[in-house]
């Protein structure tokens, strides 16, 4: 089972926040990653731990393909559950694709394959590093 992410989508500019539900209640901030300011790690200011992801300031409708290319070059390790999307053990690129299909393309009737049925597009690391940089 992956770590659970809560999803919040802002349809005004097609932006999302994905936050770990088991994160500690500590101040957080958007940290740059290697994703051309199209995707941010939400980090705890106190520990530096990544507690979520966001494309704040972007627009998934226009940034999706570029973002997928960047995630292909630099995959983000880890598997996550996103109940709002019916996803279990999903990689971040799968989650963003599901958000794009559901909220940007409006494919509300899309059924996502179960974790067992899906072909993982990205390899996941055996051990997740604490430091994503």
């Amino acid at each position: 089972m992956g770590r659970r992410l809560d999803l919040w989508f802002d349809s005004f500019e097609n932006t999302f926040d994905l936050l770990l539900t088991d994160r500690p209640k500590e101040p957080t901030a958007n940290d740059d990653a290697n994703y051309d300011f199209l995707l941010y790690f939400i980090r705890s200011l106190k520990t530096g731990e990544v507690v979520g992801f966001s494309n704040e300031g972007g627009n998934l409708a226009t940034d999706y393909e570029r973002l997928m290319g960047l995630l292909e070059d630099t995959p983000i390790p880890g598997l996550f559950d996103v109940p709002e999307l019916g996803l279990r053990d999903a990689t971040l690129d799968e989650i963003i694709t599901a958000i794009y299909c559901r909220f940007v393309l409006g494919e509300s009737a899309v059924e996502y394959p179960t974790a067992e049925e899906r072909e993982r597009p990205l390899p996941t690391m055996a051990e997740e590093p604490n430091n994503f940089e």
């Binding site: 802002d10 957080t28 300011f37 704040e56 972007g58």
Partner: protein
């Protein structure tokens, strides 16, 4: 807890009602929401239509790149403030009045055709004592209007 606060704010149907509840929430948390100074309010109250929504001009600022940047009341309340509260980052909202200064004197981080990112030159202290800077992201709409899209904290480099 946060969800309760967000629901309570969103129960207010009007934008000003939601802003009043946000102000009350912040005051209860010990924060205040100052108004920005040295901004041009000559177009305040004008409405623009963008992304299927009518937006009300709060003020404009000319940034260091010479762009006239609009700050819309609706984006400020429903998209910037609510997002910060939803993410437990309400402590940054006390500095929301710094947006014009960051646009005029901040560090230029990214300059793209339709998106520019500025960062505050000064750093601030979080409630638990960590330092952070503030970022302002402006975007250009398809009508060619530059506007403040968001305002968020970023960890200061140690």
């Amino acid at each position: 807890m946060v969800a309760d606060v967000i629901n309570w704010i969103q129960e207010e149907e009007t934008l000003d009602g939601r802003l009043q509840r946000i102000t009350t929430f912040l005051e209860n948390e010990g924060y205040f929401l100052p108004s920005p100074k040295n901004v041009d309010r000559s177009e305040q109250g004008d409405t623009h239509f963008m992304y299927g929504q009518s937006l009300t001009v709060e003020y404009t600022v000319v940034d260091q790149g010479g762009r006239k940047v609009y700050h819309y009341h609706e984006i400020g309340v429903d998209h910037i403030m609510l997002r910060r509260i939803r993410r437990d980052e309400e402590w940054t909202l006390e500095h929301i009045s710094s947006i014009p200064r960051i646009l005029r004197r901040g560090k230029l981080i990214l300059d793209e055709l339709d998106k520019v990112i500025y960062q505050s030159r000064r750093t601030y202290m979080s409630p638990t004592g960590e330092r952070y800077s503030l970022r302002v992201i402006i975007r250009r709409s398809w009508q060619g209007i530059w506007y403040v899209a968001t305002f968020h904290p970023r960890p200061a480099r140690r």
